[in-house]
Assembly symmetry: C2
């Protein structure tokens, strides 16, 4: 025998992370070393429950193959899934029953993002991309606010910034608010109020969010409308963190394509980069699953 057989490390925990664009699974040993990884399709438990289970199982199979273990051998391992669309305890329970894992807890992906970004330390997370949510952990307790979608929530998000930009453009056109280079450009590109109204009738969250990078850059260049919108977003962020009980000396992690750009409006806060991903958070929460 040319190679000595070594005993494979024992799998210890399983992390599952799922959102609207895909899902990821990782299996680690007791020291946290990743033994196998898998990826799969979208996993939003509310918009497509069956697809979510199918995609998570496919990703789990790939991760098991990588770790050299059978799925059945993992059924008793502690596992945690953080998924988009876990809007109630019922949805979480339903996912837990449908997965081939006996010791799995299921929460919203906000919980895994929070645990991943902060690691074990107390603090808060402002996750701001097209949408937004705000979360805080202290000890083993965590809580999140926002994230209910563009129509009624997600203040400070990219979609929110773009939507406020369009509303402000109509105020500028009506002569209620002073013009700025950004407002002039947007009004001209969209064809004035009639074009803005037509845009507003068909626009979805990502259409509004497409304007966020320009708002960020205009604000950096001193544009009055850009600055007003970014300060309004930062004000909502402070309001949400206050509501969560965030303390001035605690770390705050800004993530997402828009989130990082709020840093310059929050220079009195203790900002830290994210320690890890939502998948890292899922593995960390799996370690807390009771035997």
């Amino acid at each position: 025998m040319p190679f000595a057989m070594t005993e494979a490390p024992t799998p210890f925990a399983i992390g599952l992370d799922g959102g609207g664009s895909g899902c990821r699974v990782a299996i680690c040993d007791a020291s946290g070393v990743i033994l196998g990884r898998g990826e799969g399709g979208p996993a939003n438990a509310t918009t497509d429950f069956d697809g979510t289970i199918r995609h998570l199982c496919a990703a789990l199979d790939i991760a098991c193959a990588g770790a050299g273990v059978a799925v059945a051998d993992l059924a008793g391992m502690p596992a945690h899934a953080g998924l988009a669309g876990v809007i109630s305890a019922e949805v979480g329970d339903r996912v837990a029953r449908a997965l081939p894992l006996r010791r799995v807890t299921v929460t919203e992906d906000s919980d895994t993002m929070l645990a991943g970004a902060l690691g074990p330390q107390d603090g808060s997370l402002a996750a701001i991309g097209t949408g937004s949510f705000f979360a805080r952990q202290a000890g083993d307790a965590s809580r999140s606010v926002g994230g209910w979608g563009f129509q009624l929530s997600d203040q400070a998000s990219g979609a929110w910034l773009g939507h406020e930009l369009m509303k402000l453009a109509l105020h500028v056109s009506d002569g209620l608010v002073a013009e700025s280079p950004l407002m002039r450009a947007v009004l001209e590109e969209l064809g004035g109020p009639p074009g803005l109204v037509a845009f507003g009738r068909r626009a979805l969250a990502h259409d509004y969010a497409a304007y966020a990078p320009r708002i960020v850059e205009a604000a950096k260049a001193g544009d009055s409308a850009g600055l007003s919108l970014m300060w309004q977003g930062a004000t909502f962020l402070r309001f949400a963190l206050d509501g969560l009980g965030h303390r001035a000396d605690e770390p705050l992690c800004l993530t997402g394509g828009v989130g990082v750009h709020y840093a310059r409006y929050l220079d009195d806060m203790v900002l830290i980069p994210p320690k890890g991903s939502a998948l890292d958070g899922a593995l960390a929460l799996a370690r807390r699953v009771p035997a």
Copy 2:
């Protein structure tokens, strides 16, 4: 001959008023006495141009029959049409060319509502129903702001109040804002955040506006959320009137199903009831059409 023939009064001006739910035409003599009236279908010049012209012509035919004159005999009379959807000078010109009237001016219905509500005196109008717009006249000059539709405009309107109510309900559910009887009732009726999110995905302006009467009543009863929303609406109203140059000693006319309920939040202003309708305003503006 049992009756003496008297000469019919000479028609002098034609007023046309059109909105999303119907149109009205009136023909008056030189002293302002109405000689004939007609009604017809919807007249929004942007959403249905051909239907607008057809409905206006049908209503004009009825008014002419009532006045005992042929449409052709009126072609040279001064006329004014105030229509929904006249979002640009081009749309107005196109309507004017399509009508069988040579001396007709065409504007948005906000102009005729303003002229009708205030008569010849200087002052402002806040027209607030499902949507909203704000207008001011001083001498022969007038100007309006807002009214661009629910998606990007119409602050203080019924739809705006209902939308803000739903956003506030999610803040209450998230623990960011204190509960109130109105908030508790709305959250319970809609099934908490998941129900609110589902409502927000399908709701149109009139769905949100359906909550406005409850907001008005809750505010009267001292509900903190109701009061907050009504004061926010009144604050926007003041902002819009300031932008229009409204002076504290000028009359302000509140119209629309929601508008009248802002009176108690504006007790420092000179409030007057509307003097007349948009059709009255169209007749008044017809009298200003140059020969």
